[in-house]
Assembly symmetry: C3
Homo-oligomer: 139 residues x 3
């Protein structure tokens, strides 16, 4: 069995953003030399997500509005977590909706994806350097 | 290490449905000959889900109403995504709540499940052929 | 390829609770002798979750209030599922938001975690013995 590990670092200039990281993950897979197996891609922070959906800006705006409706950022007094001095209570909830991780099949050296699947980093508390982990096991 | 891959195709006659696909996944596991490992089952489309829950029709009605409340289908103008000519903005959000994938332990040649766990395909934009991927790695 | 399996049992005295189970999962990893691979940790019940977030009690209170807002427990007549004699319709929905499972990279014999990542068991229908599965594959 082979295994491969890499950290991808991002420094998102705004509080929230969805960024297509598929090309970086494809680079990891190529570098790993693994052709059959499973690939895990997860946020290493608890106020960020990794998820799979469509690379369409209108949809990303829909996600943004929907998440803000489900777990509003303000007033920050709305969240007990923010009594610790944080202002990111909403970010923990938004990340929960969007998910921490994806597991992707690796087949014939490729991400085994349907036609529209793309991997996104979802930042909900940005303006600092944060990491995504790529781990691949297989042969 | 052994690996196995199969696509399961579904053509759901209505827009939305939850279908128990556990028997198909069990067939895949038997066909794979893998007795110890991990099984990934994921929707290959971004308006559909694979999830684990109870095979109880009342619960499925509860899921349907709850998701329609969280992310209503109409009016379709509600979603910027639908400006692309689609009418499935809600389906991307509903699939996000229910999840893209499940990872299941394989132990002694069986899906290593608790008493009520069953795997479902959740369709949120049906009336066309769509795919689920089953990938198994192990020995 | 090595594989390892263990069930962790919990008997939560109240209906709902979030419990940090990271130490138990670390024990499993040590016992497995696996140093490179993937670890799956999932609830074996469909009214409970395993998820990764922060071990901060204010945040846990925020999760509790938010989930109760998204899927209230009462009135139990609100859920068709409860016509079967159950009163846990809400628990199936809450577990769906929080997730069934996590997949964690194993690197150099450790859970390959970011600084704040901790694994929680989320109980939404407690007061009875329920199980979490830990499955590890690798070398």
């Amino acid at each position: 069995m082979k295994s491969y590990r890499k950290e991808l670092w991002f420094d998102i200039p705004s509080r929230r953003e969805f960024r297509n990281i598929t090309p970086y993950v494809v680079d990891c897979l190529r570098e790993s030399g693994i052709t059959e197996g499973l690939l895990l891609c997860n946020a290493m922070h608890i106020t960020a997500s990794v998820f799979i959906n469509d690379d369409e800006s209108g949809l990303h705006n829909d996600f943004e509005r929907w998440l803000e409706d489900l777990a509003p950022h303000a007033p920050i007094s709305r969240y007990q977590h923010n009594k610790t001095g944080e202002d990111n209570g909403d970010a923990h909830l938004k990340r929960t909706v969007m998910g921490r991780e994806v597991v992707v099949a690796v087949t014939a050296g490729q991400l085994d994806f349907g036609p529209w699947e793309q991997i996104f980093y979802g930042e909900f508390d940005g303006q600092r350097r944060k990491r995504v982990l790529v781990k691949i096991i297989g042969e």
